[in-house]
Symmetry: none
Subunit: 416 residues, 2 copies
């Protein structure tokens, strides 16, 4: 085992140099390698250019034990990563029948002819370890020469991520002698600095460490421990996580959830409650986020996107008079939308959102970023007013949906 | 004036190597430099480490005329970019009074004491061009030696972006004598290699160039021309775009759209048609994508997320017998969902999706990734079967929604 393997990342793609795509692969790989205790010392990007890529491989192989390349494995002539790497390592290529068969099946399933171009994706260097690609046609691979390891992964994140976990991680285990474990404590309804004030002293800890960061408009805390074994690292994290949860209280919606909708779906499943949605400005975003979660069919009954006033009235039964008097963006309408969705769906609870997402106003003089979020059960209904003060449509829609989800969470938590 | 200036970017920051932050600066700078006709040939990231940064500067200065560094200009001891660059160029530093005064004012305004640490931010290399920072305390700068230009910018995007436009762009004008214009031709319903076969010969053109790439599961073509003026570059692109459109035909949904929903909303607005949606497995995603587009309220009437069979029957009027006989994921149900949404909403057309998004099956024995997409108008209805062959829930939902949007597009195109 190499004691401290040095790793570097090379992204190949002219589209990255032109700024057409954001290099999220480099961040993903760096994060995952850090978790394994493998240090990334360089990240580089070059275009689809054999000369410059070869030069970079020369430099990289002088200073790193592991070089992970992403991109340039596609079927078109400008995809050259594999060919350049084989040339650099002086490895011959052979036709990998299994990859070819998989590729043929891939096209057959889609009832499409396999283009001739694709055959080159099944050509692989002799002696390599093949990484299966279940999400595209280009297999990945690892090869070694004189102690330098090249790993080639496809560029599209949908293909790179599963391949990394399924094939690259097992391959890289040989370089990893420490285990790093991280847990994310997720909160809703507290700002980063207000949160920091409550736990300032914990930021000075060395192992585990506690670090705040912001993600998707939420404040997040990351607890990270390094140890010889996973078990030991877990044991070090646990008391710190408990301490943070007890100091922050209700604003913590969970540990290691990727998003609030996951927590909401789990809570609803636990309490066996079914939910419905009535959305205006969020346009289906709440329903979409709930149904992102696998298994949500158990708790999600129905969603109504009542974009026009006519639908608010005819489908949800919002009073036409009240729509006229108070306007579509009002407490009254939010309440009636939630009550209407409850009735139409027969669910246990219903949430609603009506607001002005922007970038432009609705002509009523009400500010962009204003919204009303309603929740109804069989006996009661509640409405919250929200003002983001922003005109960014995507942001407002996201934050409105998050607040509606949080309203469900708080309701279910308080249910006995 | 240098005829073809070669530029490269160096991001300095251990937090990027750890994957804690996404390197959006590199994308921003690459995009803006491309617009100025300055070619970025390398992007690199190193940590806050003097030795590795010096080594990288040596390599970079061999191959590039302009090196733009971002990050590592902060007040803490691990911020070393400026110090390393001065050492590399053998430039002495002096105290820049104006920057010191600005910094003092910055802290005074915030009623905070200026930490001693910050003074180092006002130390600048002799003979440099100072870039003012109106959004933070670290000034940027440019310096030159033997024809190699180093530009130092702060890392935080809200400081880097304005400084780039206000100070770096004027400085870089000396290298830019060409204008580059790019247009993206967006398609739906054709794979990258099938598309390549139809236009293979165009990939050999030199100016404009034609390059394929994949984005969000769609194949995309980028046409790029370089010329002395914007007008001339546009003139060079136009016939190539027309040629591609005529060869690819119906699969092209537009030029320079960011996504298919933009094209769909525009088509519906043109034809003054209002649409409704009935969604099962996509759970509101189609409605969400349509209403992402500002101005969609003119064409979007109503969306029903009929997740349970009961709602399919009670709200959309899908026959309970047919749900029983054919199952929820069937051509018959997709058709009745679209017809039901049309009736409930009073819209001109309605689309529907019912499918198995995964990761698990629905117990019916039908494969994950199977879906039926329906479209109804007052006189007719159509259903398409789709098999993605994948179990990735996010992917299946996205592709189902995209196909439903494309079905609207094809319908509206064929409407006279």
């Amino acid at each position: 085992m190499i004691d401290l393997a040095v790793c570097e990342l090379i992204s190949v793609g002219t589209e990255i140099l032109l700024g057409d795509i954001l290099n999220t692969d480099a961040q993903f790989l760096s994060q995952e390698l850090a978790k394994m205790g493998i240090s990334v010392m360089h990240q580089s990007t070059v275009g689809d250019n054999a000369e410059r890529l070869t030069k970079l491989l020369e430099e990289a192989s002088q200073r790193s034990d592991i070089i992970i390349l992403s991109g340039g494995l596609g079927p078109t002539p400008d995809d050259i990563t594999k060919e350049v790497c084989c040339e650099f390592f002086k490895k011959k290529m052979f036709l990998h029948e299994e990859s070819l068969e998989k590729m043929k099946a891939f096209f057959a399933e889609r009832k499409r002819e396999m283009p001739e171009n694709n055959i080159k994706q099944a050509m692989l260097p002799e002696g390599c370890v093949v990484f299966r690609n279940d999400n595209g046609t280009a297999p990945g691979l690892a090869m070694e020469k004189d102690g330098v390891h090249l790993l080639l992964l496809p560029g599209p994140p949908r293909e790179l991520k599963p391949m990394f976990f399924e094939s690259a991680v097992p391959y890289l285990k040989q370089f990893s002698n420490k285990t790093i474990i991280s847990h994310n404590i997720r909160t809703f309804g507290i700002g980063e600095s207000a949160m920091a004030e409550k736990i300032n002293d914990l930021f000075d800890m060395q192992n585990p460490t506690v670090a705040p960061y912001a993600k998707d408009g939420e404040a997040l805390l990351r607890v990270t421990a390094m140890a010889d074994s996973e078990e030991q690292a877990e044991k070090m994290c646990r008391p710190v996580i408990d301490e943070i949860k007890s100091r922050l209280g209700d604003v913590v919606y969970g540990v290691d959830y990727t998003c609030i909708e996951e927590a909401v779906v789990e809570l609803l499943r636990e309490k066996k409650l079914r939910v419905a949605t009535a959305e205006s400005c969020t346009g289906g975003f709440i329903a979409k986020r709930i149904t992102n979660v696998s298994g949500s069919s158990e708790i999600f009954e129905c969603g109504i996107v009542s974009y026009s006033n006519r639908i608010k009235n005819e489908v949800l039964g919002v009073s036409a008079d009240d729509l006229e008097r108070y306007g579509a963006v009002s407490e009254t309408v939010a309440r009636q939308m939630a009550e209407g969705a409850l009735k139409v769906s027969g669910a246990d609870i219903a949430v609603s959102v009506t607001g002005i997402a922007g970038p432009n106003g609705d002509g009523s003089g009400k500010p962009v970023g204003l919204s009303y979020i309603g929740l109804a059960d069989k006996n009661n209904s509640w409405v919250t007013e929200l003002k983001t003060g922003r005109t960014d449509r995507d942001y407002n829609r996201y934050v409105n949906a998050s607040n509606a989800l949080n309203m469900i969470r708080m309701y279910v938590r308080n249910e006995k």
